[in-house]
């Protein structure tokens, strides 16, 4: 039990960081610093070139090497890391803007703790903003899939007969369709430009629409078995209206499954967003998402030379692992409830 609470706390913390990406990230994720493409992660020093110790960590500015590959540190002046600095403007929620950042250094030095990409954009900031898009898409799509799945599953299981067959055959069709190819066709049919917000909503809708079938089948099964229980039949015998029976006696059985499904679907949908963005079906440049960031790893030279470009993969593993842990937590709870 202790372990699981820590997982939940960690997950909440992670989401807070992602939600407050603008504050936690030192830079604007779209701004290019063209003098420092593919700069490695900034090295934090506490001992300077003269061998002197400094309590406050600092970085040096980078100068590109003569061969155009790699950088060396200009040790002539130190740039201490400061907290609560003012920098690029960002909005936390629409209407509330700020320029306060958790940390930063004075220009011209940069504190890119996860390096920069091919345009000199800060990878750490991009991971945070990208995770915001990816995780948000995963959560919203899960919500969408579970609401639709639960509603249709309950309807099918509870009413039975033609309605049941109709809904379940539709679910079968949805599970059988090769979505990836269909999505390519859909993308080709859409207008050339979709603005970022529309692309995001499209992504969520697509994932939700694809994802309702599986949970709805599970919920239907539970509803089917629940509605045959003696106390449900008894309640009906006493004349309880169907909606009351559903709410009071049947649906509570599905909560465990819904929770478990949520824990499974969120990382699954985040990964689906990655796949779609990887294939160019997600948000476009200069906006970041974990998927579009991983897309650059398709290039051999990036894969071979710039290890810090794997940062989005690390973030992805962290988020997915957190949700999977949450799922097992949900399992335990469900078992407890059942017993």
């Amino acid at each position: 039990m202790r372990r699981t609470t820590w997982i939940v706390r960690g997950l909440i913390g992670l989401h807070l960081v992602i939600l407050l990406a603008g504050f936690a990230a030192p830079y604007d994720p779209a701004v290019q610093s063209r003098t420092v493409p593919f700069a490695p992660p900034a090295r934090l020093h506490i001992v300077d070139a003269q061998g002197q110790f400094h309590l406050r960590p600092f970085v040096y500015a980078l100068t590109p090497d003569a061969d155009g590959e790699g950088y060396s540190e200009d040790t002539s002046s130190r740039f201490p890391v400061r907290f609560f600095t003012h920098g690029a403007r960002y909005s936390v929620v629409p209407g509330f803007e700020s320029d306060l950042h958790l940390f930063g250094v004075d220009a011209p030095a940069r504190v890119s703790i996860a390096g920069t990409d091919g345009y000199g954009r800060d990878v750490f900031s991009r991971v945070l903003f990208g995770a915001r898009v990816s995780v948000m898409a995963g959560l919203l799509a899960t919500l969408c899939a579970l609401v639709v799945g639960t509603a249709l599953g309950t309807l099918a299981g509870f009413s039975g007969g033609l309605v049941d067959r109709l809904i379940m055959r539709t679910a079968d069709v949805f599970m059988a369709v090769p979505w990836l190819y269909l999505l390519f066709a859909v993308r080709a049919a859409l207008p050339l430009h979709i603005d970022t917000r529309a692309a995001f909503l499209l992504l969520v809708t697509v994932l939700g629409v694809i994802g309702w079938a599986r949970p709805s089948r599970m919920i239907r099964g539970i509803v089917l078995s629940a509605k045959e229980r003696a106390y449900v039949l008894a309640a009906q015998g006493f004349g309880a209206p169907p909606l009351y029976v559903l709410r009071r006696h049947v649906l509570p059985h599905t909560y465990g499954v819904v929770l478990t499904q949520a824990g499974l679907l969120v990382p699954q949908f985040i990964l689906a967003e990655v796949t779609l963005s990887f294939l160019g079906l997600g948000v476009g440049e200069p906006e970041a998402s974990l998927g579009s960031m991983l897309g650059t790893l398709q290039q051999y030279h990036v894969l071979a030379s710039y290890w810090w470009m794997f940062a989005p993969a690390v973030a992805l593993i962290g988020v997915a692992a957190g949700y999977h842990a949450l799922t097992s937590f949900g399992h335990e709870r469900a078992r407890l409830v059942a017993s």
Partner: protein, 603 residues
Amino acid sequence: MRKMLIRKTLIQKTLIRTVVSTLAAVCAGILPLAAASPSAPFTRGEELLVERAAIGRPGGRLVVALRAEPRTLNPIVVTDAPSREVIGRMAADLIHINRLSQGTEPALASAWTRSKDGREYTLTLRKGVRFSDGHPFDADDVVFTFKALLDPRVGSPNRDLLIVGGKPIDVKKIDAYHVRVALAAPYAAAERLFDSLAILPRHLLEPALADGTLQDAWTMQAAAGSIAGLGPYRLKEYVAGQRLVLERNPYYWKVDASAHRLPYIDELVFQFTGSEDAQVIRFQSGESDVLSRVGADNFNLLSKTQTSRGHQLADLGPSLEYNFLFFNQNDLSGKNLPQIAAHQRWFNDVSFRRAVSLAIDRDAIVRLVFRGRGVPLWGNVTPGNRAWQNTSLPRPARSVADARAMLKAAGYSWQPDGALVDRQGQRVDFTIATSATSAARTEMATLIQADLKELGMNVRVVPLEFRALLDRVVETFDYDASILGFGGGDADPNGEMNVWLSRGTNHYWRLNQTAPATPWEAEIDRLMKQQLVTLDPRERKHLYDRVQAIIAENVPFVFLAAPHILVGARGDLANFQPSVLDPYTLWNVDQLYFKGARASGRR
């Protein structure tokens, strides 16, 4: 069941073949004297061409990784680059463009003369030359080749090139070793037309031409014995999906200074990979010997291990390829594209295009996209084309302030949030479509997106599958702007005719013109047509300089940058003299040889 049986026999056959070829390789290794296809003895009166390159050692096998599988072995209908790469090694032309000097030189025609009016060429053919199957070559083969090239049933992509002044060129046999080529109109640098036009064996292909089936001859499935050419190599075997092997042509018509019949290397093996990255990985691991043209990122990656792996890498400087941004200025009447038609208010405005050009950070493109291995461009002729570049074109440095002033003078203004609006109050907001397969061009678009944001333009970048992109650009016109690249063909301006003539098929910013849409396009038409019939090279250069200046002034294409040609080869490959003209590395394959102890049949 039947299917399984067939597959079984196939497996058995391949197994047997593998065993046999392994045995053969082993035998060849033990007995280097029994190397494949020993040179044919010289015959009396055989007019050989003596190459002056360093004298090499015979033997060995050169492995080349192609990006894709060749589609045909038929030189007359070939369009794709991998097929051209293979066929080019098996075929020879009458007059050749030297890839280093970019000038013409004798090949199968040992000499040629031009009549005073420039409408008639007399070519003297080399005597005693034989095809790779031993059959002699003469004027009949030349006449046959041109008949095939001009036959509309064959549908050769080179056919249009050979129609001069509205009439097909006329090739007549004078005697066995002389042909006369007559043109309906004077044609500048007509001898360059002969480059890369493979001479076909009449004795093998005449029936196919008569039946109208020449275009279907020499497919990838053709037997090695049914194909013959005049190039340094001939077909040995083709294993679909795996490799294509060429062996040296024992009758080749070039010798080195010590009268040794070329080529030196016994076998040329082409392997098929899927992508540039796969080519690089094979080269890096030593599975292939030559790397024709890679991107700067991969080149830098290879240069890190250059000494430890013993590679020779070469940065040959600017290529002829020019990358450009262009706006959709097509006539959209009759198409239902109201949004794009509204955007054309800006695209048709030369001040708008000039402002865009002025705001683009070309140095950043060179630095970030080509890792410094490229040059910024302000015109269509790159510094790689030494003879034809107009060096006096203005090269304005990037200036956002000047660009903003230009837009302001043209009636544009800015909203409080910094967004640019036109006279009608519409926000300037458009999409750049790029090819998803070209990382470089998508990167350029992303840089331009940030550059133009400083002008208040909202630009979106949409990478599309290449065919989908091309369909929008040439068919539906459903796009705002795009980034493409041209070049890589001949250095001569005649190769650019279809881009700059207002009716040209690559006149992408405004296609399907019946009459020039603007006075300056009419002027380019006039100049390009005039240079085509001008025989004095200096006068031609003068005319083409003017064309370049008009293009730079009116910015139909916003030129961005030209990448360098970057190639590599094994360290022990000698006479390796890559060029900025296609084919970059294998153009002198007949002179390549392996230094050191690499005897024939090893590997």
